[in-house]
């Protein structure tokens, strides 16, 4: 079968399954899938920075948190209309990224990783301390149910909330897919492969890097507002180092650079820790550790292998030459 047709069929099949899910599984399971979709969006934002642009990051959870809290504040003070919350959350995420990005841009590789870690940890601590805004370490509760479009009733049933989250997920996934196929997207891959050469040819690499940093900040922020809509509760723990690390690991498992790989990686990590972990209460991290070790040895290129159209077959070592 023609590979492109096969891909399209698989994609369509997945879409059908996702749409039919609330009719097939119970409310707890469907709310878990909502959480997986949001985490997958976070993983996609990490993938954009790490897999596509070659900037390994542990700081995306900070912008995710900024978006989540923005969504919560908007929901309780301005409007319960979801898309408005999402827009404002994306904006907040972009602004936060723009403010903190220049500090990180001075470095590459491990130094960049550590700077983003610092950003993430500082944001986490700040979220716990800014009691008047974030309600501190006990978390932000009392968030009203989300209204999908002005005039529609608020969504309370888990299945309907899931559809809202799914709509947001598909929208953002499409936006990122378009971005990756654009000339900008190709330039990002050039950044990953050889920044010096790209700069020598006249591309403003630092400006590009900062731009993608802000765009992924916006994406993470939008994902954060979806989290708030799904959970109706935000706590500093939703944006800490553990979340950032798991997102990065999900991307590595899925295969650096692959969008659908990041999604499946995210699903795998969440299901392993929460679903399988539920059967061995207390040993969720053990299962994750085993998953990581197995993936590293058995799937050297992650679940997706190489998945971008040009330059297929490029090995990981070249791809990571500068991380």
């Amino acid at each position: 079968m023609n590979p492109v047709l096969a891909r399209r069929l698989v994609g369509a099949g997945v879409l059908v399954v996702l749409l039919a899910l609330p009719w097939m599984i119970n409310p707890y399971a469907i709310s878990t899938v909502s959480r997986i979709l949001v985490f997958a969006l976070l993983a996609i934002s990490v993938n954009l920075l790490t897999g596509v642009t070659g900037l390994p990051t542990l700081g995306q959870s900070a912008y995710f948190g900024v978006g989540a809290y923005t969504g919560a504040i908007v929901a309780t003070t301005v409007t319960a209309v979801g898309p408005v919350q999402m827009l404002l959350a994306a904006l907040a995420g972009a602004v936060a990224a723009a403010v903190t990005g220049p500090v990180a841009m001075r470095a590459r590789g491990v130094a960049f990783l550590m700077i983003t870690l610092a950003i993430g940890e500082i944001a986490y601590t700040a979220a716990g301390r800014l009691d008047p805004i974030t309600h501190g370490t006990d978390g932000f509760s009392g968030i009203p149910p989300v209204v999908p479009l002005p005039g529609l009733p608020p969504l309370v049933i888990d299945g309907l909330v899931y559809y809202y989250v799914l709509a947001g997920f598909l929208l953002l996934y499409a936006v990122v897919a378009v971005l990756l196929r654009s000339p900008f997207g190709l330039a990002l891959r050039g950044l990953r492969d050889n920044e010096a050469r790209l700069r020598a040819v006249g591309y403003p690499t630092t400006a590009f890097a900062l731009t993608i940093y802000c765009l992924t900040g916006a994406l993470a922020g939008a994902a954060g507002s979806l989290w708030t809509s799904a959970q109706r509760f935000v706590a500093p723990g939703d944006m800490g180092f553990q979340v950032a690390a798991l997102a990065l690991l999900a991307v590595i498992i899925g295969g650096l650079g692959s969008m659908w790989g990041s999604c499946v990686g995210a699903a795998l990590v969440v299901l392993t820790r929460d679903y399988l972990g539920g059967y061995v209460a207390g040993h969720g991290p053990l299962l994750l550790g085993i998953l990581f070790v197995l993936v590293v040895y058995l799937l050297p290129r992650g679940l997706a292998g190489t998945s971008w159209r040009r330059g297929s077959g490029r090995s990981r070592s070249r791809q990571e030459a500068r991380t």
């Binding site: 550590m114 500082i122 990065l248 690991l249 550790g289 990581f292 590293v296 040895y297 990981r316």
Partner: protein, 292 residues
């Protein structure tokens, strides 16, 4: 001036103790990273192994401590060798894969250790001669921490001399700088790298054995140690022993004197300091020391 000194002297001394503890933890990570380009996120686990060994074997007597040290060193060497062997196949695959593997190992090890030792933090008593408090200029200070400054200081000096003044150290530094040239000279760099990995791991476990009375073992301590080590390594500069020492002493002071002077900003000081250093010297403090 004297008033200020009197009020903060103990914090500064504690900063030295803490800094030397951080050095023993971070130097192995820095060397392995600088030398083998391997990002070992199981480093905190090595500390934990040493600290649990101290808890289990150090019963207050000097013999107990000695046994704990020996066991700790053996476990460290074995652990380092094991990690080197496991990361060998990933040598060309970049840091993120190494991060995935070593973090997986760290998760598994943490679960096993929690199953064996329980889920509480286990305080470890120093040997009987070193318990209690001494008086520094009228202020109480634990005797063990003073002793630790002496021991860890000697250890730091030893490591420094080994790496900067001996021919073995020269070999290691050469391998950090240009692995292929060294190999061209006929030396099996793999043995050098295994050796460095084992040595760095043994230092971390030894840090655990000696540091347990200061930073006791328990779930989550491996993550704390890992983050601290990474910060020190990045602040000091990768692959450099003098850099690790400078970075460790600086972070030690930040976490003690810094916190005493600015308690309201205590949670931000560690990463704040790291960001300041990286903004000023992106390659770490070692670039101050090293000649161009």
């Amino acid at each position: 001036m004297l008033d200020w000194l009197d009020a903060n002297l103990v914090s500064m001394v504690d900063g030295v103790a803490y800094g030397l503890l951080l050095f023993t933890l971070a130097v192995g990570l820095s060397l392995v990273f600088g030398m083998m380009d391997v990002l070992n996120l199981a480093h905190g686990t090595l500390y934990l192994l040493g600290a649990y060994a101290a808890y289990a074997l150090s019963d207050g007597s000097w013999l107990g401590l000695l046994v704990a040290v020996v066991v700790g060193l053996l476990v460290g060497v074995a652990g380092g060798g094991l990690l080197a062997a496991l990361t060998q196949p990933l040598a060309s695959r970049g840091h993120l894969d190494q991060a995935l593997l070593t973090l997986g190992i760290a998760f598994i090890a943490a679960d096993v250790l929690a199953a064996v030792f329980g889920s509480e933090v286990l305080p470890t008593a120093p040997p009987n001669g070193l318990t209690g408090s001494a008086s520094i200029l009228g202020h109480n200070y634990p005797v063990y921490r003073l002793a630790f400054i002496g021991i860890a200081g000697a250890l730091a000096a030893l490591v420094y001399l080994l790496f900067e003044r001996s021919s073995l150290g020269a070999l290691v530094r050469a391998t950090v700088a240009d692995r292929d040239m060294v190999r061209a000279g006929g030396i099996d760099t793999r043995k050098v790298m295994f050796g460095v990995f084992a040595f760095g791991a043994a230092l971390a476990t030894l840090g655990g054995v000696l540091g347990a009375p200061i930073l006791a073992p328990g779930p989550g301590v491996d993550e704390t140690v890992l983050v601290l080590s990474l910060v020190v390594v990045v602040v000091g500069g990768l692959g450099s022993v003098p850099g690790a020492l400078l970075g460790a002493l600086l972070i030690g002071q930040v976490q003690t004197l810094g916190v005493a002077l600015m308690p309201a900003y205590a949670p931000f000081l560690l990463f704040g300091a790291m960001l300041v250093v990286l903004a000023w010297r992106p390659d770490g403090l070692v670039s101050l020391v090293r000649r161009a």
